[in-house]
Symmetry: C2
Subunit: 420 residues, 2 copies
């Protein structure tokens, strides 16, 4: 069979382990020089393909590629850019074909979440609809854990481990201080539509008395009175109250809690944040001293406390994507299939991109406790294996070592520039 | 010599390694059964002494005490409670003597920052002024790194490592996304009066182009125009801008940046936060997409990414405190003395509590770059050894294992209750 080059791109919000998937793709491709020539990585994701900005990963040493496995962020740059349908924007697809043809690209690996798998699916259609032969394989990734079919999404397990660890640690801090100082602590975590990340905080607790005492999920409409009552109960009974709140926590009418509706002196909408909003509410209604934290990007970048299971799975889906491509699959995405929970066993399966694209996996409602403020044993059983194992990066001068890539672009072959 | 019991208490904001100092005190005391009987820990710090709530640490296993070395927070409870001068509140000192006498306490170890060393000093005075013989030794602790004499404060190195690591990791995240998404990221860190913690973020960067691009210190009055200019420069030249801001960052007139002066619909002052304030400023002036994080307690509780140097020093000051007591010292505090920077060598020295109390060590101005937005090589040379080495806790089911103490109170001997 002919040797053809591959295109790999990172898409959407990055994670602590998306580079481990990149490592899986590149290392596996390098093992098949009889089938795959160079792996070009899109500079800033699919934008790099449109602009013909192709990073030549063949110039990177084995060591540098290996170091991707312990490097957070997206080493080649990612983007938030969704291709329209072929019928709506043929120009983009024609440009992709033009670039792919110029660089003899026969494999397309797209590493991202739901929107990105939609893009991968659309690109796969150019093979049929526009006559350019290309093998398209999706590589799953998202901290939100909301891709369908797969048991979990690479990237999620590490955020979950970070959030559970941080909740455990900060919980011990508040507990120490609550007699004479801070009594209420609020940690705001990611998850605009699904409470997976907030749920993971629940792993920190072994009993009702231990933090987190309250979890706020986007799935459960916020009830002010019940919330305040529970805060007060915890402070009175345990001495303190630790709350983990999804950024997507919302009122019954769908308004985000973070949307305070307040304006500053210039009439600009005041910046929200669920954590400060709740802190204010607690202060006003109950008068307790509070502290709050917003983990934001720290949580999804925290490679230093990544889950070993997550790192392994992230690498495995990258590797499997290349193997699927080589075995003649088209428009599929490798997924994680759970064989059993204890001890955790999983294998790689596959799902068609046409089914994956734009579907969101919701958190099952039986994962949330009846009172709406915590997780059930079922949820715990699901989550626990995903944070198992540590995969500490190497350190140098006290800090994690990260891959230092050259990220050299291959020479452009096209005369035309493309405007996004 | 007679065998007498010891009292140990944790005071002020806790750290990732204050329990390592507790471990040093208790393990060392246990090695001298001919001099020290039981170590009683104050439940919630000095409040426990006043209330005669004394945790009998002799009931804890060797293993449990050892586990303190990798457990964040204050295992016996801490407090924010400052004793007045003896002349102002003789009642409190009389109560202390009463409790100490009832439990034959001859050693007083007080683990805290500047205010707490002041308390330790005052307690030492009851030996002379009120005729109760007790040996008082301070044990240094504070994430703020603001105790005088000592090269650094146990607790600081671990926060510094956490902040530098988080800046490095989140920086890679933003860099990946900046082409089509977030361009400005702001991380708010602790440090109301001194910029030590903010400065530590500077360790993440090896060049001007790398994050953090801007550090805001409480020591440098905030200049809006210069700040916005620099943000804009970074975005235009590096594609993105990572800012690390001290919670204590302030205007020229001393007003905190976080003090927005805004009121909500009920006339309550709106909660600030430096990070959201700066984010709003950037958005309004430059229009860049931003994200912000507030690490708050996560930073000082992050035992999972503690500095091995810090853990070692925290243990060493606990151990030294007991040894100093046994060698007849009075009203001193063990300190870290830096022998050399590279390779880092240090030994334990001592400082009189009378000099330590209520003194604040400021960051030397030559540690801050001329433009006010970064650290100098001198600062880097000072900080680097403090974050050196990793001291990962053991993990179980994916989470750090922490000490589970019984914290059983010894039977009260006094008939009177004490009201704070």
């Amino acid at each position: 069979m002919a040797i053809r080059n591959a295109f790999y791109a990172q898409s959407g919000g990055v994670t602590a382990v998306i580079n481990a998937s990149a490592c899986g793709v590149i290392e596996t491709a390098r093992k098949h020089p009889d089938r795959i020539g160079k792996v070009f990585a899109g500079r800033n994701g699919i934008i790099g393909a449109l602009r013909e900005e192709l990073i030549d990963t063949s110039l990177e040493s084995e060591e540098a590629i290996r170091a991707l496995i312990h490097t957070p962020g997206g080493a080649f740059g990612s983007c938030r850019y969704k291709l329209k349908n072929i019928s709506e924007n043929q120009r983009e697809y024609e440009r992709l074909i033009e670039v792919f043809r110029a660089h003899d690209i026969g494999y397309f690996f797209y590493n991202g979440g739901g929107d990105s798998q939609d893009t991968a699916y659309k690109v796969s259609q150019i093979a049929d609809k526009m006559g350019y032969p290309i093998t398209c394989i999706g590589v799953p990734k998202t901290v939100d854990n909301d891709l369908p079919f797969t048991d979990c999404c690479p990237g999620f397990g590490s955020v979950a481990k970070y959030i559970a660890t941080s909740t455990l640690e900060a919980g011990l801090d508040i507990k120490s201080m609550c007699e004479s100082s801070t009594k209420v602590f609020i940690l705001e975590v990611m998850g605009r539509h699904a409470g997976w990340i907030a749920a993971s905080a629940g792993l920190a607790s072994k009993s009702e008395a231990e933090p987190p005492h309250i979890i706020l999920f986007p799935e459960i409409p916020f009830r002010r009175e019940a919330f305040l009552e529970r805060v007060d109960f915890c402070v009175k009974n345990y001495g303190y109250c630790v709350i983990v709140a999804s950024e997507g926590a919302q009122h019954e009418d769908g308004r985000f809690l973070a949307d305070t509706g307040n304006k500053d002196a210039f009439g600009h909408t005041q910046l929200g944040g669920v954590a400060p909003t709740l802190a204010n509410m607690v202060k006003q209604a109950l008068g307790y001293k509070y502290h709050w934290a917003v983990a934001d990007y720290l949580q999804r970048a925290a490679r230093h406390i990544a889950s070993a299971t997550d790192v392994e799975q992230a690498y495995a889906v990258g590797k499997a994507a290349v193997e699927m491509a080589l075995s003649g699959k088209q428009a599929v995405m490798p997924i994680i299939v759970r064989d059993q929970a204890r001890p955790y066993r999983w294998h790689i399966g596959e799902a068609p991109l046409s089914d994956v694209a734009n579907q969101e996996k919701k958190m099952p409602i039986h994962y949330i406790r009846d009172d709406g403020f915590g997780i059930t044993q079922d949820c715990r059983d699901y989550l626990e294996p995903l944070i198992a194992g540590e995969s500490f990066p190497p350190f140098e001068d006290g800090l994690p070592k990260v891959a230092r890539l050259q990220n050299e672009l291959t020479e452009k072959k096209l005369k035309t520039e493309f405007t996004l």
